[in-house]
């Protein structure tokens, strides 16, 4: 089996990808969104000029520098302003008061352009802290439950590798599946200002569920083939059995991921604006998850087995 044979090359590739992701996180950083820190998020858009009227007569967004000054004067603190779409702005700021909330649309409007507040989200600091705690808790719980589940699913296989090794390797692939989208998201944050919110956490957790799903199918096949070999009293090298199993599930892994990737691509390109970043994160995560199930999980299993054999001799 190609993948098993060249496993060291794939380990190197995986290592390089993980390293790149970690560097991306270290350099760009993961910026927590207002859902986790508390604060205000405002999305405004300006009336577009009617087709045919042309010109700058009205309906374009104001200059960001001028708008920044206006916002400063209006008492907004620690804010960041970013252009969104063709005719909108996204404002992230600290908590705002009644006065600022009341004149939001007016502050953004200028002579010739009327602003509409499309979306306003205010999160108090206690809610932010609470969501942060919950997100960490959810991540920990999912990892724990999945580990327990794998150990349970593989409790009957102990030859030649005990079930907890399957679990541990599955966990390693999961760590890989978390790090890759994180690195991607750090880069995305640098490029587009995307921030870590509850949807990002949801995407990561969904990827974990899906990826482990893939890994289980491959391991499950290994488990079955080991049993068949045992029943038929067939002597086969573990690497061969594992490679064989990987071969048998390869098409299935790719195909199920493909159908999911199709739907995610559609969701990213024509789906609702509020879930675009979410779809993109899932796209990267699920690709990473499928990759790790095929190119990381079973090769690691073979590697562990080889090392044990050596230790025995």
């Amino acid at each position: 089996m190609f993948i098993i044979k060249h496993r060291n090359a794939f380990f190197a590739l995986t290592g390089a990808l993980v390293l790149a992701a970690l560097i991306s996180v270290a350099v760009f950083g993961l910026h927590l969104g207002i859902e986790f820190t508390g604060g205000t998020l405002v999305e405004v858009s300006y009336d577009l000029p009617a087709p045919g009227t042309g010109g700058q007569a009205g309906g374009t967004r104001p200059d960001p520098v001028a708008l920044t000054n206006t916002l400063n004067d209006a008492g907004f603190k620690d804010f960041s302003l970013r252009e969104t779409g063709d005719n909108g702005y996204t404002l992230r700021a600290q908590s705002i008061g009644d006065a600022q909330r009341g004149e939001l649309a007016a502050v953004f409007s200028y002579q010739g352009g009327t602003a509409h507040v499309d979306q306003l989200t205010e999160i108090g600091p206690t809610i932010g802290a609470e969501l942060r705690n919950k997100a960490i808790l959810a991540l920990g719980l999912v990892l724990l439950c999945i580990l327990l589940f794998i150990a349970f699913a593989f409790r009957k296989v102990s030859q030649p590798i005990s079930s907890w090794v399957y679990g541990l390797i599955a966990l390693v692939t999961l760590v890989h599946d978390i790090i890759i989208p994180m690195g991607f998201f750090a880069l995305l944050g640098y490029l587009t200002g995307a921030q870590v919110d509850t949807l990002f956490v949801t995407a990561v957790l969904t990827v974990l569920g899906f990826s482990i799903h893939d890994t289980i199918v491959v391991f499950d096949r290994t488990r079955e083939n080991l049993r068949i070999n045992h029943e038929k009293n067939r002597k086969e090298d573990f690497a061969e059995t594992a490679g064989h199993s990987l071969n048998q599930t390869f098409v299935r892994s790719i195909n199920t991921s493909l159908t999911v990737l199709f739907t995610l691509l559609v969701l990213y390109f024509i789906g609702p604006a509020s879930t675009k970043v979410f779809a993109l994160t899932l796209l990267v995560g699920i690709t990473a998850g499928t990759y790790s199930s095929i190119f990381l999980a079973t090769p690691l299993l073979v590697w562990v087995e080889k090392r044990r054999n050596k230790a025995k001799k």
């Binding site: 859902e35 009644d98 909330r101 009341g102 509409h116 507040v117 499309d118 979306q119 989200t121 205010e122 108090g124 206690t126 809610i127 802290a129 609470e130 969501l131 705690n133 919950k134 997100a135 808790l137 959810a138 719980l141 999912v142 439950c145 999945i146 589940f149 699913a153 509850t198 949807l199 949801t202 957790l205 969904t206 974990l208 569920g209 899906f210 482990i212 799903h213 289980i216 199918v217 499950d220 599930t249 299935r252 195909n255 199920t256 159908t259 999911v260 990737l261 199709f262 739907t263 995610l264 559609v266 969701l267 024509i270 789906g271 609702p272 604006a273 509020s274 879930t275 979410f278 779809a279």
Partner: protein, 441 residues
């Protein structure tokens, strides 16, 4: 072959049930008898989250006060003609690190946050407290209220009605607001006044002490008077506001979320388009790759979709943008079980078994994988639902439902149809139909 006839009849029944559910979804949508329930991010509207300040409430009264709080706000919101508002209370779990009682108000169609806040904010907060010391403090500061006063057994929820009256002689008559308690409230008030004769009794409105009279004797008739130097208009307004309902405890706004209607409409349109294209792409792929079984998988997928849509209407599931994303994602995942089964059947066919045998063995062999892998997705869905915000709950609910329903449709429906076809793969043509894009069989 009666067994085969039976299988075919069963398959037709499954198809008819699917068609009936599909018709229900269509019909209910056209006649709007069971509309989809849209979340605020799709319908447009405002959500306000308040924290209830329960400092002045005895802990045994917390649950009752919160429900009184909800009722009062609900009455007020209804009065202003907001359609289908949602007012609910929530206790934050100990897991989240804070323990708070919250009030969540959802106002569909209200897209001016400031107006929405004002609408709720005009509700008066009526509190009663007993002064701890025997003598009234000379100067009064709101910051020391909690140290100077202790909660009284009676709260704003015990108020039945209030009215404007004038007290004193005609020449120097003063407008006062008379509070009438409910029959239960009257009893509490009678006991309270009987047991605390001589103590100072503070009546607080919106956190400010309005009057702090001394309890001279037991008051059995269930009325109290607020005389706080009102003007006639001020007293009249207060009496009216109190009649709409007074909040038993103060509330503090801690979070708002407003989405404009235009943004919501666009999200719905985009979501529907993405759904259609997503379903089309998956169906096309399955047909091209798996041919005849691919067609069956597409039928199973169609059934999956109508069952899900019907469930959305029945349960009802509040659909958000994240929920729609979960549904579209689940369409891609729903065929997973089919892919597993078909790949297995193909292997069995390659092993030289007959088609019927291959199908039943393929199902049997694929089942443990399908079960195990769906459990892992369910774990994620349950944890997300348990810990998530309303946005995430919407995702988790649709995702979890999708996993369950897709497992059901993939296993029962695909199986029924594969058997009902009764094909035999010894002919090359059937082999072709069961083959796949790059396989050699």
């Amino acid at each position: 072959m009666p067994a085969m006839a039976q299988k075919r009849v069963f398959a037709i029944i499954v198809l008819l049930i699917g068609a009936a559910i599909g018709y229900f979804v269509y019909h209910s949508e056209v006649t709007a008898s069971w509309p989809f329930k849209l979340g605020l991010d799709l319908s447009g509207g405002t959500q306000l989250v308040y924290r209830a300040d329960l400092n002045a409430i005895q802990s045994s009264d917390v649950a009752e006060s919160m429900s009184a709080l909800r009722d009062t706000i609900e009455r007020r919101v209804n009065m202003f003609g907001v359609s289908e508002p949602l007012v609910q209370t929530e206790q934050t779990s100990a897991l989240s690190g804070t323990s708070e009682q919250r009030l969540i108000v959802e106002l569909p169609g209200v897209t001016d946050t400031q107006k929405a806040i004002a609408l709720i904010g005009e509700t008066p907060v009526l509190e009663f407290r007993l002064l701890k010391s025997a003598n009234p403090p000379a100067a009064f500061s709101t910051t020391t209220v909690n140290q100077d006063f202790e909660p009284a057994a009676i709260t704003g929820k015990d108020l039945a009605s209030s009215e404007l009256q004038f007290q004193g002689s005609v020449a120097i008559s003063e407008p006062v607001v008379v509070l009438h308690f409910t029959s239960q409230g009257a009893k509490i008030f009678a006991d309270l006044t009987k047991n605390n004769v001589g103590r100072y009794f503070g009546i607080f409105l919106d956190g400010q002490p309005i009057s702090i009279p001394v309890i001279r004797e037991s008051i059995p008739d269930g009325t109290a008077v607020i005389s706080g130097g009102f003007t006639a208009t001020g007293a009249k307004e207060l009496a009216r506001n109190l009649n709409y309902g007074a909040l038993p405890v103060p509330i503090e706004l801690i979070s708002t979320q407003t989405v404009s209607g235009t943004l919501g409409d666009k999200a719905v349109r985009d979501g529907i388009m993405a759904g259609l294209w997503g379903i089309g792409a998956v169906a096309l792929f399955m047909l091209l790759w798996y041919r005849l079984p691919g067609l069956l998988a597409t039928i199973a997928l169609t059934l999956y979709i109508v069952v899900m849509l019907a469930l959305f209407k029945f349960i009802p599931v509040t659909l958000t943008a994240a929920g729609i994303a979960a549904f579209i994602l689940s369409v891609g995942m729903a065929v997973d079980a089919n892919v597993l089964i078909f790949e297995r059947i193909k292997e069995e066919l390659r092993g030289g078994k007959s088609t019927a045998e291959s199908i039943s063995d393929g199902f049997a062999r694929a089942w443990p994988s399908i079960r195990d892998s769906n459990i892992s997705s369910m774990i994620t869905a349950v944890i997300l639902f348990w810990l998530g915000t309303s946005l995430i709950k919407g995702f988790a609910l649709v995702f979890g439902l999708g996993v369950l329903v897709s497992m059901l449709t993939a296993i029962t429906v695909s199986r029924t149809f594969l058997f009902a076809l009764g094909v035999d793969a010894k002919y090359g043509f059937t082999r072709l139909l069961f083959g796949s894009g790059i396989s050699r069989t």
